[in-house]
Every structure is written in C-alpha cells, then in structure tokens.
C-alpha cells in the first residue's frame, strides 16, 4: 500500500473492559494520519459515551455509531492531530 495514502484501520476491542476500547482507539490515533478512518469494534457499552466525548474533544469526526452483530461499531475519521 502507498505509504502516503489514507487508510481504513479496523480495531477489534471486543470483550475488552478496563481500560478497554478507548486504549485501542488512542493507540490507533497515535499511528494515524489525517484522512485515515478508524473502525472500532467493541462490546463494552461504555464505549458509546467514550467515543462521542473523544471525537468532540479531539476534533475528529464520528461518522457513525451503530450496533452490528452483537458489537458496537464506531467509525471515526481523523481530521486533526
């Protein structure tokens, strides 16, 4: 893959709690570039509030947040870092 191209990264944080999915999201953010899309899969219900707060605080876009096959899937687009 072209190193300069934007990427879609799937982060699987299912069955994780404490510190949980937000750790994986923060790690993925650290490795991302502007324009990248992060798809976070989680089962911890706390993730809903956390990704909303994360997107608001960091100025990144929460594209969608939905329940899919027993998991909570958040799609985030990196606009700032």
């Amino acid at each position: 893959m072209d190193a300069g191209a934007t990427r879609r990264r799937v982060v699987d944080a299912r069955d994780k709690s404490c510190p949980g999915p937000i750790t994986d999201l923060a790690l993925a953010y650290r490795r991302s570039k502007i324009g990248d899309v992060i798809e976070l899969w989680a089962t911890d219900p706390g993730v809903r509030a956390d990704v909303r707060a994360w997107a608001a605080k960091t100025g990144n876009e929460l594209v969608s947040l939905e329940d899919k096959s027993g998991a909570i899937v958040s799609v985030l687009r990196i606009l700032r870092r």
Binding site: K16, S17, C18, Y29, R30, R31, P45, A49
Partner: protein, 399 residues
C-alpha cells in the same frame, strides 16, 4: 536438552519454575539479569524516599533443581523449538514459556529520553527512581505535571498513585500552596474504569489537582519542559513526571506473526498459548492480553500455564487484582475479569496495609508454596463475589 524452557526470571517466570520443579519437571530459566526486582516499590523510592532494598539474587529465589542461565535471548524459533542468546548459546525445548516482561522505552516519544535522563521516573528501575526523588527533593514550588505518555503502562493505577503521593509529599513539606499539580491522561476520565474513577476523581478534586483528560503525549520539549499532546494541547511545567511508553523485550520471533507492533506477544486470551503454536506459551507483561499489566496477572497466568503443562484443564479468566494506594492512608484494589467489569471496592486502611505487606510476602510467594492461601484469597475476592457482597457498590459502567 528438552523439558520446559522459561524465558525471563521475573514475577511470572520465577513462580512458574518453582511450581513445576516441585512436580519433578526438568526446567531451565534463562534471564537477562542475575537480579530480581520488586517493581511496585519503585513508587516509594521515587516519591517517598524509601530505601532501595528491593532486589534479590534470582538464583537464590529458584528451587535448587531449576537450571538457571544468565543470558539475553535475542531470537526464538517457534517452529524449531529453539531459543538463542546474544552470546550464541542455544536452548532447545519441548515446551516454552515466555515471561520476558515489558520494558520502558522513553525514546518512543520525541524529547522524553532527555526528560527521563534529567528527572528520572518510577517505571525504569532503581537509578531512575532515585533520580526522581532527588528532583523532588530540590523542588521548591512551581508546576508539577504527572501522567502516562502512552495508553499502555505497567500497573494502570500507578500514574494516579503517583500524583496522589506527590500531593501528599508537597503538603508535608509546606510546598503545596506554592505548587500547581496537573494530572494528564489519554483516557476520558481520571481512571479509565468508571467504578474506580468514582472513587478517585473526587479525591483529586478535593486536593486541588487539575486533571487534563484526552491528553495523549505527542512530544516533549526538554528545554522549556513543555508537553504537547496529539490532541493539540500543551502543558508547561517545572517538573515533568512522565510514565514512559512500554514495549515487549527485544527478541525476534519466527514466524514473526507472534508479535504485535509494540513487540508484545499474541496469545490466546484463555489458554495463553502463543498464536499458531502447540507447546509455546507467554505470560505476564510480555503478552498482548487485554487486561492490566501487573504482578497479580503474571501470578495467575503462571498458575494457568502450570496446570496446562501438567495436563489439567485450565483457562485464564482475565482476572486483575491491582493494588491502589490512594495517598490518604487508605487503599483499594482494581478487581475485574473478562466477564466482570471493575468493582467499586470501598477503600480502607487494611487494603493499603496489604499493599505495603506485599513487599515482604512477595519473595515468599515466588516459592509457590503458598498457593493454597492465594487460591483462597483470589476466590474470596472474585469480582462476582464482591459484587454480591456489596450490591450498592456494584455498577456497570453503562452510560
């Protein structure tokens, strides 16, 4: 040579070796260091000026029949069942257990190695801890910033414990009114697990400690002591106390799919078997397990692998049991498992005392002779059981 090869003579490796030795199994422990460090005490060396008697000779902690080699492993061939040391020494095995822990790597963050060199920290050994105590000793007021540089750190309570102990120290020295204390964290709240945060957040508030959430360290400017976050914020301070990022040991694995980007070993979260192998396991801080990196986890995982190697059915249930010193004479534990979120376990003086006693009990516990007591203790404090005992403290972070 065959038998069980254990890489790393720390908490998990030492306990497992001693448990297996008692069953007459042939065991070799290979470890980089001839010494064994009780890491939790670094907190008190750095932030309370405690003595540094926290090291024992590893050979003396191992049962006599365990073969011990002081070597630094650089390569493991999982297909050929062979580990190689930097010296060229080779170790063949029937079963392998990797317990090489995690290491602090400040260089991952620009500017952090220089900060660590100048001010020390409490996650990189005795010298760094003593350096931090010196820096605190000459501090006469100003801004102190405390936090973790990366979302993954060994002993998740330790960043908050650090800021609470510094607050205590500054008060004792009549410096608190001349100081601003800032706690930064990459998480949405002071402590990532909500039930524990409900205990911790009011404590920091009551002590006037400022909290900056979603602050993920991007780089540090050593000259001005400015910490910048990926999120675009900055903290200017006089004394930066930063828990460095961690990664796995510098060992190459074949096939290399066994390691993740931070060199942690990919294992099955229940069997602890290294992915795509039949007789290789990893335990403790060395793994990519989705639980806290802490001594209690290494202990319980050692026990799971012990049973598996003995041919008994066993599964690791993701149990955590992290001691938390709240800096006010009380303490609690962060207790959870794969199936149970952290319990809001009421802080008491006894729980803090238990953390202090662990410094003594630790060396005895490595013998594996007290497993009956530990079994009883861990089942008595199982998260489901605590929840039933204190229903009103039991909350799921379901917002």
């Amino acid at each position: 040579m065959g038998g069980v090869l254990i890489l790393g003579g720390g908490t998990g490796g030492t306990l497992l070796a001693n448990m297996l030795a008692r069953r007459g199994i042939e065991i070799t422990v290979v470890s980089e260091s001839p010494e064994h460090l009780f890491q939790p005490a670094l907190l008190y060396i750095a932030l309370a000026g405690a003595g540094a008697d926290i090291v024992r000779d590893e050979r003396a902690l191992l049962a006599k029949r365990v073969r011990f080699a002081r070597e630094r492993i650089v390569r493991v061939n999982l297909a050929a069942h062979r580990a190689e040391a930097a010296s060229g020494a080779r170790f063949d095995y029937d079963s392998l257990v990797v317990a090489t822990g995690a290491r602090a790597e400040p260089a991952q963050i620009p500017g952090l190695a220089e900060i660590a060199e100048r001010y020390g920290n409490y996650h990189s050994g005795i010298t760094a801890a003593q350096k931090l105590w010196k820096a605190l000793d000459s501090f006469r007021g100003g801004t102190v910033a405390v936090g973790q540089a990366s979302p993954i750190c060994v002993c998740p309570p330790s960043p908050v414990e650090g800021v609470l102990l510094i607050d205590k120290l500054l008060r004792r020295r009549w410096l608190r009114s001349k100081s601003r204390l800032i706690f930064f964290t990459p998480f949405p709240r002071t402590y990532p697990a909500e039930p524990i945060n409900e205990i911790v957040e009011p404590l920091l508030k009551a002590r006037g400690i400022e909290v900056k959430t979603f602050f993920d360290v991007d780089r540090v400017e050593p000259a001005s002591r400015t910490i910048f976050s990926i999120e675009g914020e900055r903290i200017d301070c006089d004394l930066p106390i930063i828990v460095p990022p961690v990664c796995g040991a510098d060992v190459a694995y074949e096939p290399d799919g066994a390691l993740n980007a931070d060199r942690f070993i990919a294992v099955d979260k229940k069997t602890l078997r290294i992915k795509d192998t039949d007789s290789a396991y990893a335990i403790g801080d060395a793994t990519d397990l989705p639980t806290s990196k802490a001594g209690a986890g290494a202990h319980l995982q050692a026990k799971t692998v012990f049973r598996e190697l003995m041919g008994e059915p066993a599964e690791f249930n993701g149990r955590t049991h992290c001691a938390f010193d709240l800096g006010n004479g009380t303490g609690t534990f962060v207790i959870s498992s794969y199936s149970a979120p952290a319990v809001r376990y009421p802080p008491t003086r006894i729980k803090r005392l238990m953390k202090m006693l662990m410094g003594r009990v630790y060396w005895l516990s490595l013998s594996g002779l007290f497993e009956t007591i530990f079994n009883w203790y861990f089942s008595w404090t199982a998260p489901e059981r605590l929840a039933a005992r204190w229903p009103r403290f039991w909350r799921r972070a379901n917002r």
